[in-house]
Structures are given as C-alpha cells and as structure tokens.
Subunit: 238 residues, 2 copies
Amino acid sequence: MSSVAKKTVGTGAPETTSTSQATAERIPAAQRRALILEAATGVFAERGYAGSTTDQVAKAAGISQPYVVRMFGTKETLFLEALDRAQGKLLRAFREVIAAYDAGELTEELQHLDAAAGSGRPEQLKQLMAIAYADLIEDRGILMMLMQAFVAGHEPAIGARAREGFLDIYRLVRDEAGLLPETARDFLAQGMLMNTLIGIRLPEIYEQDSTAEELLECTLRSKLPMVLKASKAQRRAG
Amino acid sequence: MSSVAKKTVGTGAPETTSTSQATAERIPAAQRRALILEAATGVFAERGYAGSTTDQVAKAAGISQPYVVRMFGTKETLFLEALDRAQGKLLRAFREVIAAYDAGELTEELQHLDAAAGSGRPEQLKQLMAIAYADLIEDRGILMMLMQAFVAGHEPAIGARAREGFLDIYRLVRDEAGLLPETARDFLAQGMLMNTLIGIRLPEIYEQDSTAEELLECTLRSKLPMVLKASKAQRRAG
DNA sequence: GGTTTAAGTAATCATTCGATTACAACATCC
DNA sequence: GGATGTTGTAATCGAATGATTACTTAAACC
C-alpha cells in the first residue's frame, strides 16, 4: 500500500548529476494526485487530521513535502479530498451490492446468510452490505479515514462534510436499500462499532485476551479471519 | 462547565503589586488537579489528543500553561488521566443503574420502558443503561473523551488504555448486567452510533435537515430534547 | 536544437507547542 | 517574624510543522 521513495535508478553508470538529488519518478500530475490521496488516506486514518503532517503524507507517497502542499493547497483540502474519496468508495461498495442483488447475481451469497434475520429484500441487503462493509476493513484506510472525520467535527469545514457524508450513507441505506429507519440505524450502529474495534486495534490482542476474542467473534463473524490477517499484515508494515 | 480565568479580585483599592500579575485563586493542589482534569476532558473531547494544546487546557482551567504541565508531567499523562476519569464516570453510571434496579428502586422508570423489547432483567437493564448513557451526553465531555481515545489507538500508551477500557465496559455489560454477547454487542453499537452523531454535531442541524431529524429521533428517542438543549447551550458557550 | 511547459526538490521562514527554568507571592509553622 | 513549603506565573527554548520561494530537470513542442 505505502510505496517507498525511489531514486531515479541510473543505468549503472555514476549519477548523471554531481549533486545526488533524490527525485521521484516523473508521472503525470493526475496520477500523482491519486497516489498522494491514497497515501494521505492511510496517514490520516492512522493518526487523525491534527496528528498527521504533510511530510508524513509526502514520505508515504514517495515525494517531497512541498509538492504535496502545492498540489492540494493546504492540509485541510487534502484531508477533505481524501475524505471524499473514502466516502465515495463506501457508497460505491454499497451500491454495487444493491445492484448485484437486484440483478440476481448473488444467489450463491444468499445461501450463506442468516435466514433467521428474515428473507425480504431489506433484510438480505442489510446482511450483504454488512459483509461489504467488513470487506472494506481490509483496506483499513477507508473506514478509519471516515471515523477520523467523524471526530474532527470541531473543524468547521471537516465537520460540515462529515455531517453531509454521514447523512448520505444513511439515506442510501434507507432509500436505496429500503431499510426502515430503525433498521438503518441498527445497521449504522454496527458499522460504528466495527470502526471502534478497529480504531482501538482490538484484533492485535485477539490471541491474548479471551474477552477481545469473544467481542470480535460476535461482531465480525465470518469476516474475522480476514480482519485478523489484515491486522497482522499492517503490524508488519508498521 | 468551563470556568473563566479570574484575577485575584482586589478590595477595590488599587492593585497591591505594581506589576499586575494575573494569579489564579490559590486552592489546594488536589482540587486544582480535579479542575484541570475537568477542563482537559472538555478540551480533549472537543479537539482530540493531537489537536489539543496544554495551553488550551490551561486557559479552560483558568491557570497558566506551565502549571498544567508541571502538575501532570506531560500532555500524554494528562490525557490518560482524563481518560481514566471519563471511563470511571461511565462505569459508575452503569453500576448505579444496576444497583438501583436490583434494589427495586426503579419501579417508576420501568413503566416507561419498551415492553416489546422484553421484560427480563437483561432486557430491562439494557434499556435503562441506554438511558443512563444518553444522559451522559449532556456533559458532552465524557463520551467524546472516550471516543477520542478510541481513534487515537496509534499512540501506544493511549491505545493500550483504550483497549482495556473498552473491554472493561463490555465485561460490565455482559457480566454485571447479564447481557448475552450479542445483546451486549448491540448495546455497545448503539452507544458508538450516539457518539458518532454527537461527534459530527448532528444536533446542530436538527432543524434544517429532515434526514438528520429522523436519524436523531430514532436514535435518541426520549433523550433527544435534552441533547438538543445541551447542543444549543454548548454552541452559545462555543 | 532550442524553447517552453510540467514535475519535482532544497532551503528556509514564521508559528506553534510542549517543556524547562527561574522567580514571585501566599500560607504555615516554630 | 523569619524560615519553609506550596501555589502559582513570566520568560524562554528547542523542535516540529505548514507553507513559500526559488531552483532544477525531464519531457513535449515546433
């Protein structure tokens, strides 16, 4: 995920310039933007808005700090764009589930759902979206990026965007998936719990604490192994 | 909540010292500690760990920044103590509900519960604890202080304490209130959703957005008016 | 080949912030 | 009433950080 800074690899001959300048590979600005946003998502997700520095983002993206600032103007707009990107990914994931369901492409997946929870469209979509949500944990950046925005409400621009984004998700779940307000509420609540468990890094103590084990089991269900694997991978990546 | 800095109020006579030094009222260190922790809870809840400064805490407590640092050593230990305090308040609130219930002191409150949700001890305690939880929103500092700790998991000391604290709450709900793991999970999930709605300051747009209105209604129920009032009061204090 | 444009960095600046030091004033004890 | 400990502040320091400026160098254009 986080790419490492690369020097321009010479032909084996000595450096072309006497002053060895670590210049990143030159790529079009649009692509660089996307790379920076991806890196920023990881950094902001990990350390929050105030706790992150533009230099950390730059290093994660393999470029220099001034370039990050010049491309996005300010740290705040960088955060807002990363937030938009994360929210977009979440909305898209949900909409893909709904579209696939309505197209009848999920007959296989339907077999594995909890039949006791109901067999109507909203009930089944709720379960399928919960799985899609948990799948996003694997990325780790996406959901924690959103979570960090949710607790940065005191920054006026971020707070406003976070409110709008949260309501967008609620409306999607209610209007497009067809959940009743109370069901939509419960769905969102489960999501916020997952975010919290990831935020406190509970998977890291899964093996050492039986309470953590039980809570994770009963919250993540079939997605737990994937989350545990992702957690270990992230610890290795440091 | 947030006390204002006060100068030593003279007798009406001119200042006793030529150099007007704004000295806070002298009170015992133990009491001062408590005041600082209360102020710190508000500041950290609002802006998070990284986003808060010891000077903001000092100003909120009406004393100087060096005094804050000297009394707690570092910003991190100040945060950790404020976290302990907040968690203690939450645990105590839940335990008081359980004790009162088991002592039969809540016959009046039981009338107002949702009978459809069940009439056993766990079901009733769950509803009563949810009310107690929502009551804590009025303070605003307590729950957001916890929430801020939950997303600061990358700070090793804070993450460890946050994990332990969250598991403490889960165990209380499961073992002392007697909820099944799945019920305890749902209870915590509702709490995390409330935290999130407070974090994004959704009550602030209650009047302007019908979606926000619906979501708040169905999440906070009878506690909504209180939360809306607290939200307005906080905006005035801003 | 020479010019222009796009992609990128080094150097640096002004603030901010946590922490330290040194000092002031009040209370208490003998 | 002087010594002593407690409660507090002013001044300041070093490190970190977001942003700016002034360059460099590679690519594209003609």
